[in-house]
């Protein structure tokens, strides 16, 4: 049986931009996986870090906290961090937490690479 606490996160580099695509629910059980994926992606101080949320069905405040932390490191490292692919349920939590302005949020991956 697979490790049920780890969430699948696809990682890809395109024109220097690192794209992380977590799959599933980013909740308290899964946000540690996202956190370590973000940290290792940021070690190389890439010019751009895209978090592609297309396959994220659900996110709670532990996911938000992880992204806020990552956004701060990105600012320090002059990495431009962009979020894309939010479904309406995920978008709702960013709005409730008033974080929709704090992040750069675009609709899809194409925009995330060019914005």
């Amino acid at each position: 049986m697979h490790d049920s606490d780890a969430m699948p996160i696809n990682s890809e580099t395109r024109d220097g931009a690192v794209i992380l695509s977590p799959v599933g629910d980013v909740d308290m059980a899964h946000s540690p996986s996202l956190r370590s994926a973000l940290r290792s992606a940021q070690e190389g101080k890439p010019p751009r870090l895209v978090v592609n949320l297309t396959d994220v069905r659900y996110m709670d405040s532990s996911g938000l906290a992880t992204l806020v932390e990552s956004m701060r490191s990105a600012k320090n490292a002059r990495t431009s961090m962009v979020l894309c692919g939010m479904n309406p349920k995920v978008k709702a939590i960013f709005e409730i937490a008033r974080l929709d302005q704090f992040f750069t949020v675009v609709d899809d991956l194409d925009q995330a690479l060019t914005v």
Partner: protein, 167 residues
């Protein structure tokens, strides 16, 4: 208010079971007439409350009990439920209900969002000490009236919003 819950869940304080609790709550809310987005928000509020119990109440111990009880809120004239009431209880150390608050939203940093989310999503959210040990959180969300069949007069609606919804 003290009648038997329609559904009561006892779960271990392990984050692995959060998704099960969310799906249950969301699905019950759906059957009580909330739309998809509201169901997802109600599940989020419950998830945040459970995370707080696990993190703050039980210091991340994964084998302690948490109870979630669900009721339809009193029915309207047509016998349809008028919302959902959710009570979350634990056996953790008791804390001052007034201490249950997050950071200022403008001061962006990781964490400090759970209680805001709970209060923003629900119409009522009340923390209290249980008799004996542990804490109790009572959450209420009223159902939106369908636009095509308004059943309450504007007056009734404003009575409703007079209920303190955030504190």
């Amino acid at each position: 208010m003290s009648e038997r819950p329609h559904i009561r869940v006892e779960l271990m304080s392990n984050p692995v079971y959060l998704s099960g609790a969310r799906e249950l709550v969301s699905s019950v809310a759906r059957r009580l007439g909330f739309d998809d987005l509201d169901c997802s928000k109600i599940a989020l509020a419950v998830d945040e409350a459970l995370c707080n119990v696990i993190r703050h109440g039980y210091n991340r111990k994964t084998d302690r009990p948490i109870w979630i009880a669900l009721w339809p809120v009193d029915e309207d004239a047509d016998g349809n439920p008028d919302g959902i009431r959710i009570v979350i209880e634990d056996e953790a150390k008791q804390v001052d209900p007034d201490k249950m608050k997050g950071r200022e939203l403008a001061d962006v940093r990781p964490g400090g969002l759970g209680v805001h989310i709970i209060r923003e999503v629900m119409d009522e959210a009340r923390y209290e000490r249980r008799e004996g040990d542990g804490m109790r959180l009572t959450l209420i969300k009223r159902a939106p009236k369908p636009a095509d069949a308004p059943r309450i007069a504007p007056g009734a609606r404003s009575t409703r919003s007079a209920t303190p919804s955030r504190r």
